[in-house]
């Protein structure tokens, strides 16, 4: 066991634990803040997966953008929303949650079974990639790679994403517009 693996397990643990906390809590604010933690842990996992640019992008956009947006939207909505959002039932596990729990657990079991059966390390194309030395190494320059690929191979999706973003912007602005009668 080298350091990478230990770090991996730590990060994984933090990510899953915080996600569990987010799932279990009734307090929305606490959930959001623990989500913070989850996102950071995920960024760490990206780094360990030799995708450093993705990790940074995650922190910038997800944590710095989305989460802040959620926080602002929640907190600036006014007292009524706060009240209605804050109140939850007192039971830890109410009966309505059991079907969902069961389903989630079964799903997890099924996926894990699938993963183990598939045995990803020994897939055909992965072995080929390994033998063809198509694997990213820690010493590679990922930003360079991403930049070139983005402008050549993936230009079309790049442009499409930009248009999509614009549509989302306009759409969100329109939807949340206040009625002029108020």
């Amino acid at each position: 066991m080298n350091l990478a693996q230990i770090l991996f397990y730590a990060m994984a643990f933090i990510a899953v634990a915080s996600a569990l906390y987010v799932a279990a809590t009734k307090n929305l604010v606490r959930g959001i803040f623990m989500f913070f933690v989850t996102l950071f842990a995920l960024a760490g996992l990206y780094v360990l997966a030799l995708a450093d640019f993705v990790a940074v992008t995650q922190i910038v956009i997800y944590v710095g953008g989305i989460l802040v947006l959620i926080l602002f939207a929640f907190m600036l909505s006014g007292r009524e929303t706060l009240n209605s959002l804050g109140e939850q039932k007192d039971k830890l596990i109410s009966s309505g949650k059991i079907p969902g729990l069961v389903l989630a657990v079964l799903f997890f079991a099924a996926m894990v079974a699938m993963i183990l059966r598939v045995d990803a390390d020994n897939l055909g194309w992965i072995k080929q990639a390994v033998t063809a030395d198509n694997v990213i190494k820690p010493t590679d320059n990922s930003i360079n790679n991403i930049g070139i690929n983005l402008m050549t191979t993936y230009l079309l999706p790049f442009e499409a994403i930009s248009i999509l973003l614009m549509m989302a912007l306009i759409g969100a602005a329109h939807i949340s517009r206040k009625e002029p009668d108020a």
């Binding site: 969902g100 389903l103 699938m114 059966r117």
Partner: protein, 688 residues
């Protein structure tokens, strides 16, 4: 005269048919006439009878003591047996053919006045004509089958006429009784007819009972009755005679079937006069006359004994009765007993002679009582009294007020007692004398019969005198009981007096014999002489009539003294003998209790049976079925419907459950989708 010329025969037959069928025609015309009290009905019937009478006289003159005339046609065929219907005119038939209209004519004339105020006048005459038709047809019938038909028809007409005033309870009961008792006789006759037919193969009266008839030729050999067509055990001969006797007893009111005749007096008096005194009741004796060869000597003895007993019994009962018509009814029974006795002892001719004379004087007496009762009823209505117009205790001294009636009544009474110079004397004499000579030739016990006959003659004298004295002599009792009544009664018009006159004339001797004292000279008698030993034994022929008549005179005087002069001795009213006589020897009570009671009990039992058991069984069945249907309904409701209800229940629960999936909640939808995906996932997992 020798044999008939064919056209004379045809003429005679036509006349006979006319005589028989004219009353039937009158019946039909009367039935069709409009209105209930159409006076024309009376004259139609009377005219028909008159014409019958005339025809009968002509036939009589042609056929009396001549070779008999037998005409028949084939009626129908059953198998190999032919049945004929037709007329047999021998001495029997023509004398009866003459007698019936001769009695019916005065009665018809009398009825036109007697029933003048009745509201069913037309119906009365229709019935009367029906009766005359059936009686006339009865006497000329030549086949046992047609005889039986008219025998029954006569009984039926009698039933109709007895119950003529059917709104009265007593009349209805009386005619029921008469009809039922007559039916018993009819059954007997039917059995006898059947046995005779089996034994000899023929229904024809001439063939069977004529001079050289089949019955006369049949013999009893070794306990078998040998006949023309079959040989049967002799037991059946006894049964046949028993059947005939039963028929005779029913029609002629002999013991034990005599109880209907006194009750039959509920009918109008003219009906009683015609039917129950003179003609229908004589039909039994007529039957005996026709079927005479059937009887063996032993059976004849039995017949004589019963006849004698009946005569004696009826006479004793007549001694104490207070109802005018009942006295005469019992007197009729008694005289009929004489006739049957006469038949039994072989005095065949005397018996028929007595039948003829009795018809006249008895009819006369009944018509007299009719007049008396009629006048008493007038008095009752005029003064609003509550009396029984037929009770002789209310009458008395009527000879001054109804002189003509009184005289004819005296003649009739004398004939009934049998005093000399009347026709009754001749006929009764014949029976008496012959009974003595018959008994002489036999054992001691047979002497009881003439003794009984003589005693009965004495009793007859007593009660007839009592009747005459109580009605016509003494003081008018009703006036003594009710001093302030006013009345005005008289003899009545020509319609009353002429019939009485005609009948009174016929009750005297000249019509029947030129010698008032010697009965063998009577032409009726000579018409029927048979070969049974009737040698004139001089002593008897003188002593007996003299002795009996002296006895009668004593008895008359005795009765007169008792009832008019009120000379002491009379049996107190509470003594046993009086009670026995007054209550008709308790026969009616006995019959009522035993037979009627028995039949009613039987009917109650069978009604109970029908009600409880048969109906109960049906109720049980129906209850069972109802129970079954209830079970089926329960089954249908819970089980069969239960299945469908179960199905709906399941559907309802399922749909309630499934409804949750359409609640509109997004998370549920998501849940379902994910569940399906999971299932697919697992399926793929397990299969790969």
């Amino acid at each position: 005269m020798g044999t008939f010329q064919p056209y004379q025969q045809a003429l005679t037959i036509c006349l006979a048919l006319a005589a028989v069928l004219l009353p039937l025609l009158a019946f039909i015309i009367n039935a069709c006439l409009p209105g209930r009290t159409n006076k024309a009905a009376g004259w139609v019937s009377t005219l028909a009878i008159l014409l019958s009478f005339v025809s009968a006289i002509i036939i009589f003159s042609k056929l009396w003591n001549q070779p008999q005339l037998h005409w028949q046609f084939k009626w129908f065929t059953i198998g190999s047996t032919n049945l004929y219907a037709g007329m047999w005119l021998n001495n029997h038939s023509v004398i009866m053919l003459l007698l019936v209209p001769a009695i019916a004519l005065p009665v018809h004339i009398y009825s036109t006045a007697y029933m003048k105020h009745d509201e069913r006048y037309k119906r009365y005459f229709a019935y009367l004509s029906l009766f005359c038709f059936s009686m006339l047809a009865l006497v000329v019938a030549d086949s046992m089958i047609t005889f039986y038909v008219f025998w029954e028809l006569v009984g039926f007409s009698s039933y109709l006429l007895i119950g003529f005033w059917f709104t009265r309870e007593k009349a209805v009961m009386a005619n029921k009784k008469a009809f039922i008792v007559n039916r018993i006789g009819d059954v007997g006759l039917l059995i006898a007819i059947m046995i005779i037919f089996v034994q000899s193969g023929s229904f024809d009266l001439n063939q069977l009972f004529g001079s050289y008839g089949l019955i006369a030729q049949s013999q009893t050999v070794n306990g078998l009755w040998v006949g023309a067509s079959a040989t049967v055990p002799v037991f059946w001969q006894y049964v046949a005679c028993g059947g005939v006797f039963l028929a005779v007893a029913a029609k002629t009111a002999q013991f034990p079937l005599h109880a209907w005749l006194p009750d039959a007096m509920e009918g109008p008096t003219s009906v009683s006069a015609l039917i129950h005194a003179a003609t229908m009741v004589a039909a039994g004796v007529f039957l005996l006359g026709r079927l005479y060869p059937l009887f063996t000597p032993t059976e004849l003895d039995v017949l004589a004994a019963i006849g004698c007993f009946t005569a004696f019994m009826a006479a004793t009962i007549a001694l104490t009765q207070n109802d005018l018509k009942r006295i005469l009814a019992y007197s009729t029974i008694s005289q009929l007993g004489f006739m049957v006795t006469g038949m039994g002892i072989g005095a065949y001719a005397s018996s028929l002679f007595h039948l003829v004379t009795h018809a006249f004087f008895k009819c006369l007496l009944f018509l007299v009582t009719g007049i008396v009762i009629h006048q008493m009823a007038h008095i009752k209505e005029d003064n609003n009294l509550d009396i029984d117009p037929q009770n002789i205790l209310n009458m008395g001294g009527l000879r001054k007020k109804l002189p003509f009636t009184f005289m004819t009544a005296l003649i009739g009474a004398a004939a009934l007692i049998g005093l000399p110079l009347t026709s009754g004397f001749l006929s009764k004499d014949g029976i008496l004398i012959q009974s003595v000579s018959w008994a002489e030739q036999r054992s001691f016990w047979h002497m009881l019969i003439p003794v009984g006959v003589i005693i009965t003659t004495g009793l007859t004298a007593f009660y007839v005198t009592r009747l005459i004295v109580k009605v016509f002599f003494g003081k008018f009792k009703l006036e003594q009981f009710h001093p302030h009544i006013k009345y005005h009664i008289s003899d009545g018009g020509w319609q009353y007096t002429v019939p009485l006159f005609m009948l009174a004339v016929c009750s005297l001797f000249p019509i029947f014999s030129f010698n008032p004292f010697v009965y063998e000279d009577a032409w009726v008698f000579s018409g029927f002489s048979t070969e049974t030993g009737l040698d004139r034994i001089n002593i008897f022929h003188t002593i007996i009539p003299v002795g009996v008549n002296i006895l009668s005179v004593f008895v008359i005087y005795f009765a007169y003294s008792v009832y008019v002069k009120r000379n002491s001795w009379s049996a107190p009213q509470n003594s046993f003998l009086y009670k026995l006589s007054y209550n008709q020897w308790y026969f009616d009570a006995f019959y009522n209790k035993v037979i009627v009671g028995g039949v009613l009990m039987l009917s109650r039992a069978s009604s109970w049976f029908d009600h409880k058991i048969i109906d109960g069984f049906i109720h049980l069945l129906s209850n069972l079925i109802i129970g079954l249907s209830k079970i089926a309904a329960w089954f249908d409701y819970y089980v069969i419907d239960g299945v469908s209800r179960l199905l709906t229940f399941i559907v309802r629960i399922t749909s309630n459950f499934i409804r949750y999936f359409q609640s509109g909640k997004i998370q549920y939808y998501l849940f379902s989708m994910m569940a399906v995906v999971l299932v697919l996932f697992i399926y793929l997992l397990l299969d790969i």
